[in-house]
Symmetry: C2
Subunit: 184 residues, 2 copies
Amino acid sequence: MTDLQIITSNNGKLREFKEIFGDSKYIPVQNNIDYPEIQASSLEEVVDFGLDWLQKTTKPPFVIDDSGVFIDFFNGFPGVYTRYIYDTIGLNGVLRQMEDVEDRKCTFRCVLGLLTESGEKQKFVGECSGTLIKELRGKGGFGYDPIFIPHGFEKTFAELSSDEKNSISHRGKAMRKLIDFLLK
Amino acid sequence: MTDLQIITSNNGKLREFKEIFGDSKYIPVQNNIDYPEIQASSLEEVVDFGLDWLQKTTKPPFVIDDSGVFIDFFNGFPGVYTRYIYDTIGLNGVLRQMEDVEDRKCTFRCVLGLLTESGEKQKFVGECSGTLIKELRGKGGFGYDPIFIPHGFEKTFAELSSDEKNSISHRGKAMRKLIDFLLK
């Protein structure tokens, strides 16, 4: 078994890392180090900048995770500011913003950035499209999970079991790509 | 007369710099160089990081400007993401967010960061409190000006003349502190 640092202060993300890595030879270990996340139009730019910055201070291997909800009708809002919007106007604020909006399509995206022991940088992207509903449903997951129904399902991310969510979620998909890479 | 680089791609900000510097011995000159703005809870942090980054690449003296609207009811939203929110959900999105909100107090803040020729860093802060109204009024200014009435006035920033606006605005206040410092 090998430790793999996950640089995050988000316990929800860490839990999902542990669940998905469960049967691989890697053990996700939390590292709370704070690194700058830039204002940018894509998660990829945030991750690139973060990896460059952390490379100067932190011993690899480590993984960073930037994720967001991109609402079609609002040109991708809240996107890279998903967490900030959650902390300020909250899910009810997002629902208010969507009140009379018929096109409720959105995409959850997760970009994982890996710095390997040899200094190689890799990114792994996962996406999950679906619909924002009009009320909060379910107690599982975290963040925007109670208002998001993935395409092809009738339950929100917060109503699905964590195994079900991880099998289709943006983070699950990105993490399985990361694990495949690590095991190669 | 001495040139002073203003590092911004925002023409509205540049125009206000030129108006307010009008009678001083400094001439604001635009520099379009792109620098990382971090995700942070305060404009000050964004400016500190920007000055540190630019110090490695750009010859001083130069000034950077980070400004935002902080809405009391929403714990400071949109704050450091003021421009992003303007570009995505727009002023109508902000008004929708405020539809049933009675407490409409907010504060415009401007933080200027200066790197002097000798490598000294200074910050200058200006604030202007007021009220967000329920519709857009006026053609002047830029950004959130059409929905903001400064405390003690009956016109929006976009309805005031630029001289009137500059005399009370967050950016005007911060810039006069900067000019005082430069002339000392």
